[in-house]
């Protein structure tokens, strides 16, 4: 197994750092999947995560000037590594004004992802910073749990409002209730509702727009005013929203009534899918 990659462009480096920061906010531990064309950050839906799962994908050629990998075997030309997300984001943080950044898979007593940064200091001399991030190589038999999740057939798909606004609202709602109902319809209306014994609070978003539906029949059968709703753990939603530092290029929310809510975001060229199951 081999992996070496290099970033020399500052904009690419900053973008990669932002992605890494976002992942660090969304998942404490995640899986990094390396394949010849892509890098994926994966969180599989385990009970420990509250059933939340995440799939983040980026095309390697949009970031790396050099990229070489050799997977486990020729037929399975992939590498799955488990790492603590914060370690990577912190290492990248020191690469703010780097001249070059190299990442490679190494084995220094234990497998590591070595991030090597060449900084240009004020006195014009190079400073080399190295971080060895310990990783765990995930054996092939566990790869089936880490496959790309299938996008469910949503009852309603809707574009999300400005995430920062959503986040500040959900933050306040968290103080009142642990569960939140997210509902939307095909008229571009989205509601966030919390209900307790004493109080009900609903925030209404209007005129959001709905993406063109995949299957024509489903959208025609459905009454556009009818809301599809899911009751979810408010902290999971807040964690998802907190991870979005920048408003995405595109943000779609797909709701499967009483089952799952699926967020499909696009940050420039990085796609992020986040699934929050209904609270059972």
């Amino acid at each position: 197994m081999k992996f070496r990659a290099k970033i020399v462009d500052t904009a690419c480096l900053n973008h990669f750092t932002r992605v890494s920061n976002m992942i660090a906010k969304l998942a404490k531990t995640c899986t990094l999947r390396i394949s010849p064309d892509k890098l994926n950050f994966i969180l599989s839906d385990k009970v420990a995560n509250g059933g939340v799962s995440m799939w983040c994908e980026l095309e390697q050629e949009n970031f790396f000037s050099e990229f070489q990998m050799e997977g486990v075997s020729a037929e399975n030309n992939e590498i799955y590594l488990e790492l603590t997300s914060e370690n990577l984001s912190r290492a990248l943080k020191t690469a703010q004004n780097a001249r070059a950044l190299k990442i490679k898979l190494t084995n220094k007593h234990f497998p590591c992802l070595t991030v090597s940064i060449e900084l240009l200091s004020v006195s014009n001399s190079s400073r080399i910073v190295t971080h060895d991030i310990p990783v765990r190589v995930i054996p092939r038999k566990l790869w089936k749990d880490l496959r790309e999740p299938t996008v469910p057939d949503a009852d309603v798909s809707i574009y999300l409002p400005v995430l920062k606004t959503m986040k500040s609202i959900v933050e306040k709602m968290k103080n009142i209730s642990n569960h939140l109902i997210i509902e939307a319809n095909l008229n571009g209306e989205l509601n966030l509702k919390i209900e307790t014994e004493l109080v009900c609070v609903t925030t209404h978003f209007k005129d959001l727009g709905n993406p063109p539906s995949a299957s024509e029949d489903a959208s025609q059968d459905r009454n556009p005013g009818q809301m599809a709703e899911v009751r979810i753990d408010i902290r999971r939603l807040l964690q998802f929203l907190a991870g979005q530092q920048v408003n995405p290029t595109k943000a779609v929310c797909n709701i499967v009534s009483n089952k799952i809510v699926h967020f499909d975001l696009l940050h420039e060229d990085v796609s992020l899918q986040y699934f929050i199951p209904a609270f059972s």
């Binding site: 400073r127 080399i128 190295t130």
Partner: protein, 346 residues
């Protein structure tokens, strides 16, 4: 250092940080409102009085109780170290960012060609979380670079962070003096206003380092609780030994003479939080020696002992500064060390 008490000797006392910090906390409001600050002692009441003479005739007085103390003396000739590096605090600060706060120790490895700051490899490695980081800095980034012997020293990261925070206030370069592992290292800041020396213990290589860590850690603490009795004993023992190895005469720092008022205003403007000099008054900030030991109960590894010495701001009273370490008793444990002159287990 009362005006009336011109013949009094040095007062070595301790003031609680929790008492002092709130008094000087709000720098902006101090700069806006305070015209003069007088600091003097009332020996009859064991109090240090800090008086702010503010605008509009307002006078704010803080009485802080002090405890007499005989701080520990560190025998360490930093100029005799084979390795000396002088670096801007900003560069060190950039290196510090690499390490997490969970890191207890860092290692500084030097050769005549390069300097490397890295995570200490002595710590037990927790595979899932600890990242090993290292940063190489070229010799040309240092204001002064003298490496006599290749060396790798390991010392407490938290102390380094603290020292850096302190040095950022002065903007003066930090000088690092060290030799081989086990021997203490010194970090000094030599500014126009003050001279500060931080002496840190470094991790020794040999396995026999676990000799007497506990006693060394605990005895200074004991000293703090009973300053007068134990120190007077130590004092007696000290004088029976050859005095020249105990007392280090540091050349007095002659700073701004009383007449140049412009310097005072420069002091005030640069916002130094440490010294405010009373204009035309002979009161001064007495030098304080703070010994700060961290107890590491049961740890066989590093005896963390750090000691900080301030050189005080100017005054006319030169005689006070001739023997800044006078009257400082040595830690009773180090008396054995003094015999052979070595300092490796301090």
């Amino acid at each position: 250092m009362n005006d009336n008490d011109s013949t009094s000797s040095n007062l070595n006392c301790k003031l609680g940080m929790k008492s002092i910090l709130p008094i000087f906390r709000c720098l902006n409001s101090l700069e806006r409102n305070v015209e003069k600050c007088k600091i003097f002692t009332r020996s009859d009441k064991c109090k240090v009085v800090i008086e702010f003479l503010c605008r509009h005739g307002i006078r704010r007085t803080h009485n802080v109780c002090f405890q007499e103390s005989q701080p520990l003396q560190v025998i360490f000739e930093k100029n005799m170290c084979s390795n000396t590096l002088v670096i801007q605090p900003r560069v060190l600060a950039e290196a510090i960012v690499l390490f997490t706060s969970s890191q207890e120790e860092v290692t500084l490895a030097v050769t005549p060609l390069s300097v490397c700051l890295k995570s200490s490899s002595d710590e037990p490695v927790d595979v899932t979380s600890s990242v090993y980081s290292e940063m190489f800095v070229g010799p040309d980034e240092f204001d002064f670079f003298q490496i006599g012997v290749d060396s790798e020293i390991t010392f407490c990261f938290k102390e380094l962070k603290g020292i850096l925070t302190f040095s950022e206030a002065t903007h003066a370069p930090i000088a690092i003096h060290f030799d081989f592992p086990g021997k203490p290292m010194a970090l000094s800041i030599d500014d126009m206003l003050l001279e500060a020396n931080f002496i840190l213990a470094t991790l020794a290589d040999e396995p026999s380092r676990a000799s007497s860590p506990q006693s060394l850690c605990l005895s200074p603490k004991q000293k703090r609780s009973e300053p007068l009795s134990s120190n007077s004993e130590a004092g007696k023992n000290v004088t029976s030994k050859a005095p020249e190895c105990i007392l280090r005469k540091v050349a007095p720092k002659r700073l701004y003479p009383k007449e140049t008022l412009t310097d005072v205003s420069a002091l005030e403007n640069c916002g130094s939080p440490i010294m405010k000099r009373a204009n035309g008054d002979r009161s001064e900030v007495s030098e304080s020696s703070v010994s700060d030991t961290e107890e590491v109960p049961g740890s066989p590894y590093l005896r963390k002992f750090s000691c900080m010495f301030f050189g005080a701001v100017s005054s006319n009273r030169q005689e006070r500064f001739n023997h800044p370490f006078d009257g400082l008793a040595t830690a009773s444990d180090s008396e054995e060390d003094m015999n052979d002159g070595s300092f490796s287990t301090f």
